[in-house]
């Protein structure tokens, strides 16, 4: 009996201790279901661990193993050299040993080279680099859609040689000439090509066909002049050097040049065509500018995304976690808030209907003159009804929205939400998220 009581006492003591421990760790315990269920945190942790294992440890272990190999080979070599030193007296054995020694030396060199190679940081592939760049940089819209042409030396020389024959020169061309220290004669007028719009040239396709008809047989005869179809349209590979050039020829300048050349040809000053001049020029096609992403925006986006995910997650696990089960609905503030909103909506409705009735009852009477009482009531009711109908639609919409808003996240998860969310977004700060206010219109 005594022993039983004693046992019972021990058991009670034990229970008390456990209770104390449980009470002490209650806040921690409370988080247990959350932690167990929060698969995102779990998955993120797993990914991190995996990446760490994969990238860091594997690399480390490889290098470590290589070092081990180096050590072994080094010690082997040392032993060998000692062996060969001691056994130098006895004839044929030393030759073998010497051979072995050189081979081991070779091996050591090879291992060292491998080690050096392994230590060198490997650069990311171009694809990866581009992807990273796209992550941090943003392609912006093309601002200047104009085609630009970097004038070549040949073009400058031509312009310089023919400048006496020009009566007028576009502003842009004049600027370029000045920059290259080609002075223009004074009598030349500078046209400001602001309002000038050049149309697309009309192309005589019949003539074109006629001219290219005999092409088929001429090409066979003259194989010596190999066509270079790409020579005129320079790709953007050579962008770097012309980028420093400040002045370009634009389309309007080319139009001017083309007209001027036609004129010069007519006057027999020269026999130069535009295509001969621009052959040596670099063509700059309009390009997107790369802009760095605003870091503030990026941080904000990440925060919002994390919030959104948390909200979704909490909604998903709401009926599993006992602590959150009745969370927003059971608080007094939540109920009062929703009550307030609905009361305000209803009061607005009643007020506008009453105002409509008043207008029909008194307002029309005041405007038109004395009306019979029954007719006034009819008018009031009609106006009130019209307003009530209109209001009803909005009321229904609004009340429906409240239902939706208060127990569900406001926005749906975006299907196109990029999955690039970093693994280190702060884990669920659950409580504060649910209290985010729903948007009122």
């Amino acid at each position: 009996m005594i022993s039983q009581v004693g046992r019972g006492g021990v058991f009670e003591n034990y229970l008390q201790i456990v209770d104390n421990q449980v009470l002490a760790s209650l806040p921690e315990l409370y988080k247990v279901p959350l932690r167990i269920l929060d698969h995102r945190v779990f998955v993120n942790g797993e990914i991190e661990a995996f990446l760490e294992n994969f990238e860091v440890r594997r690399n480390d272990s490889e290098v470590e193993k290589l070092f081990q190999v180096t050590e072994t080979v080094g010690s082997l070599r040392y032993d060998l050299s000692r062996c060969s030193a001691t056994g130098s007296g006895s004839g044929s054995g030393t030759e073998n040993l010497a051979q072995l020694d050189t081979e081991v030396n070779h091996l050591l060199d090879g291992v060292n080279a491998l080690l050096a190679k392994a230590k060198v940081e490997r650069t990311a592939s171009t694809q990866l680099q581009e992807a990273r760049l796209a992550h941090t940089m943003l392609k912006s819209t093309i601002v200047d859609t104009r085609v630009r042409l970097v004038p070549s030396k040949k073009l400058f020389d031509f312009l310089d040689a023919q400048k006496e024959h020009f009566q007028e020169v576009p502003e842009n061309v004049a600027k370029i000439m000045k920059q290259k220290d080609h002075t223009l004669p004074i009598h030349i007028k500078i046209i400001k090509d602001v309002g000038l719009v050049y149309k697309r040239p009309k192309i005589d396709y019949d003539l074109l066909k006629k001219l290219t008809e005999n092409l088929a047989d001429t090409t066979k005869e003259s194989t010596k002049d190999q066509p270079e179809p790409d020579s005129e349209v320079k790709d953007s590979d050579e962008e770097e050097s012309p980028k420093k050039v400040k002045h370009f020829l634009y389309l309007s300048d080319l139009h001017w040049l083309s007209n001027k050349l036609a004129e010069l040809r007519r006057q027999d000053h020269c026999q130069v065509f535009l295509h001969q001049l621009i052959e040596s020029c670099d063509l700059l096609l309009p390009e997107n500018e790369m802009k760095p992403r605003n870091p503030e925006l990026e941080a904000r986006c990440q925060r919002l995304r994390a919030e959104q995910h948390n909200r979704d997650y909490l909604k998903m696990t709401k009926n599993v976690d006992a602590g959150l089960k009745h969370y927003p609905e059971d608080t007094i503030s939540y109920q009062i808030k929703s009550l307030n909103k609905q009361i305000i909506a209803v009061v607005q409705f009643i007020f506008s209907v009453a105002a409509g009735f008043t207008f029909g009852f008194f307002g029309v009477n005041l405007m038109v003159g004395p009306l019979p009482f029954g007719f006034r009531i009819l008018l009031g009711v009609i106006v009130a009804l019209i307003i009530a109908l209109a209001e009803m639609y909005f009321l229904a919409k609004k009340l429906h929205e409240y239902d939706e808003v208060l127990d569900a996240p406001k926005r749906k998860p975006q299907p196109s939400a990029p999955a690039k969310r970093k693994a280190d977004t702060p884990p669920a700060e659950g409580r504060s998220v649910q209290t985010v206010k729903p948007h009122a219109d």
């Binding site: 192309i203 290219t212 389309l251 080319l254 096609l285 929205e401």
Partner: protein, 155 residues
């Protein structure tokens, strides 16, 4: 000899014109693409705005788009590829003939922002057609240029 000279002159002039035409086409094509980008972006923003203002889940969502099991309907907009290029053919909404208004899938009284977004996206389709045409013309011009450059008249 003079005949040959005049032909050479004509060919040179033609090549110049072709080059200028090519530059024009490049510019127009770029402009068209830029417009397309802008329309598309503003349409997307308007759509997002609609979802934001009207509570995403019950205003515009993919669940409201008809599935395979829904009633059949005709397309309002067709792409016609003819000799003059690609063009867009639109049909008026006519329920009896099966041309339904797609906006009514989402709500009977669509919000203003959604209507605007629709018009922007409609513009986008037109711009795509225009861009295709320009691109074809550009390809033709480039083709002619290579052909003409090969001819011995210019050398």
């Amino acid at each position: 000899m003079s005949n040959r000279n005049s032909e050479k002159e004509a060919a040179g002039q033609l090549l110049d014109d072709l080059y200028l035409d090519m530059f024009h086409l490049v510019e127009e094509h770029t402009q068209c693409r830029v417009n397309l980008e802008q329309r598309n972006a503003s349409g997307s923003i308007l759509l997002a705005r609609t979802r934001f203002q009207h509570g995403g889940s019950h205003c515009v969502s993919t669940a409201q788009i008809p599935t395979e099991n829904s009633a059949e309907f005709n397309a309002l907009c067709r792409v016609v590829d003819s000799t003059d290029g690609v063009s867009i053919e639109r049909q008026a909404v006519d329920k009896s003939k099966g041309f339904v208004e797609p906006l009514h899938w989402f709500s009977v009284l669509p919000p203003m922002s959604l209507r605007n977004a629709v018009s922007k996206f409609k513009d986008c389709v037109e711009l795509v057609a225009e861009s295709t045409n320009l691109q074809r013309q550009l390809a033709v011009a480039l083709d002619w240029i290579t052909k003409l450059r090969r001819s011995t008249l210019l050398n």
